[in-house]
Subunit: 317 residues, 2 copies
């Protein structure tokens, strides 16, 4: 048996074929060109998939289903993408469109949930049953795995852990609320915080790091400034870590998962980020002591292929 | 078969016997006198239970287990109460102590989880599988029911939904963090907010309502002032409702439960509280529209007996 996972992104469509050990044996991608109509985008997706299956020397009969991870909210039962703001998709019948070209069952899932499933299947959480994966990227995405399955809530929309308000009335979030965790702990939030700090501190090394062009600030800039001994960068990083930890402690108080996994761009900072997060969390989770086992806080292991792996394993939950 | 539930509170120990339709057929209580040593308190608990069983004309053989709800954190497997700050209990072997007098299996559970189970078994959530019950009392307690079972997390400590920070760096919470939902949305928080507003507004009717004694402010005072047309009371209530709604929206974005149930003292305000909460939540939950079924927000139905009922049904999950 072989497994096919598709990662539908705003920039690229990536497709991978996994063997029965869940190793990727073939990969390919095409640009999404997201401004197009959905039938054209989904046709490209199907054609790439068929080409890769063919190039691997496989037949359709060796593949039990096609798994698709997409940003936004899905209706899994009907195979519809209800809404995503990254691509201009609203109520798109993904399953029906793909099945025009590939006569296989189609599993559809939110991409953050796919990332969490990938970690649960082959990544950091492969030896535990309950984990939460948080992706610190453009937004703060999340997937909740309970008993080795994606937790979706009764209406399929659960797990929007970036959209818990940690600062009532605070920064405007893209979801409409103010003060969401995403508005503070996303790469976007970190970039905003770095820029704001740089504007208020003309002598900060942040300015040199971006050669005077604040539009060049990325999620690494404040960390680089901190490493260069810059006080402004250090303060930005410390505040950012506090934001990350605050949401992490909220999730632990609610779920007490065996493992809390950080993925996405900012998580590449590794222990520079996680070590202080662990320390703050230890001091602010409920009943953190007393010999009771505590949540492990770690970085994701499935990297750039997480979307493909998660989508490919949707039928194995 | 008959079921026995014990509600261990800081003031009273309440015991109830339920018939097979889960109706309470016998009830009794004794003062906890919480300053005593635990063997004395637990002996009183066992004696009251035995007396009620006897008075109902039942034999031990007709009762499958004794369920006990307690504040604090439990080790369900060993039957230990790990910690509670309401009674001075630390690492108390509840099961072992009770079994000195009653030779039956003992189920031990946190009282907020018992309240959630009671609602799930016979209360507002009896027709749904997934619900969250939030008790707005001295603190903000909570119990999460997934697939008709209490969700406890891998280490038994999950569901501390009062201890999600909604206002980073805000009001000091009893748990050690600052800005927890509990610090704002509990009856205690509401009383503090009412008192603070009264102090700042000497002409507010709040002063008359408590006959000039601000120590008499309770969780109803601001609502009463609002009903009397007082601007200060109205502002306190509106702000409080916003706090309640903010945490509710967080929980819905995370869990998408079929039902979110409010119990505890403040929930007696009923629709005065819930109608505006629903409105705020509708506008700030993620993907609140589009024909997808939404969480129902309702008041608890099991009232003062919720602890007994939840404890008595612990073995029926």
């Amino acid at each position: 048996m072989y497994y096919v996972g598709i990662d539908l992104g705003g920039t690229n469509i990536a497709v991978g074929i996994l063997d029965e050990n869940l190793k990727i044996i073939k990969k390919g991608s095409v640009p999404t060109r997201a401004s197009r109509e959905y039938p054209d985008i989904l046709k490209d997706m199907a054609m790439l998939t068929l080409r890769l299956i063919d190039e691997t020397g496989l037949s359709i009969g060796q593949i039990p289903y096609i798994g698709i991870g997409s940003p936004g909210s899905c209706d899994r039962k009907r195979g519809y993408l209800l809404y995503t703001n990254n691509i201009n998709f609203k109520n798109v019948p993904i399953r029906q469109e793909i099945q025009k070209y590939i006569p296989l069952p189609i599993h559809l899932e939110n991409d953050a949930n796919c990332a969490a499933l990938a970690e649960s299947m082959v990544g950091a959480a492969k030896d535990v049953d309950n984990s939460i994966t948080v992706t610190l990227g453009t937004g703060v995405g999340g997937g909740i795995i309970l008993n080795n399955q994606i937790f979706t809530g009764f209406n399929g929309l659960a797990g929007e852990i970036g959209h818990i308000v940690i600062h009532q009335g605070g920064e405007q979030c893209t979801c409409g609320r103010k003060g969401c965790w995403e508005a503070y702990a996303s790469a976007t939030g970190l970039i905003r915080q770095t820029r704001h700090a740089a504007l208020g501190n003309p002598n900060s090394q942040i300015h040199q790091l971006v050669h005077g062009d604040l539009d060049k600030i990325d999620a690494k800039t404040a960390f680089d400034a901190m490493r260069a001994g810059d006080a402004t960068g250090t303060k930005v990083v410390n505040d950012y870590i506090q934001y990350v930890a605050e949401g992490a402690a909220n999730l632990i108080n609610i779920f007490q998962p065996e493992m809390l996994i950080f993925g996405g761009g900012v998580s590449k900072e590794g222990e520079t980020l996680l070590q202080p997060v662990r320390e703050i969390v230890r001091n602010c989770t409920y009943f953190g002591g007393g010999g009771v086992p505590q949540t492990q806080i770690v970085t994701a292991e499935t990297g750039n292929d997480t979307g493909i792996i998660g989508a490919a394993t949707l039928g194995l939950q």
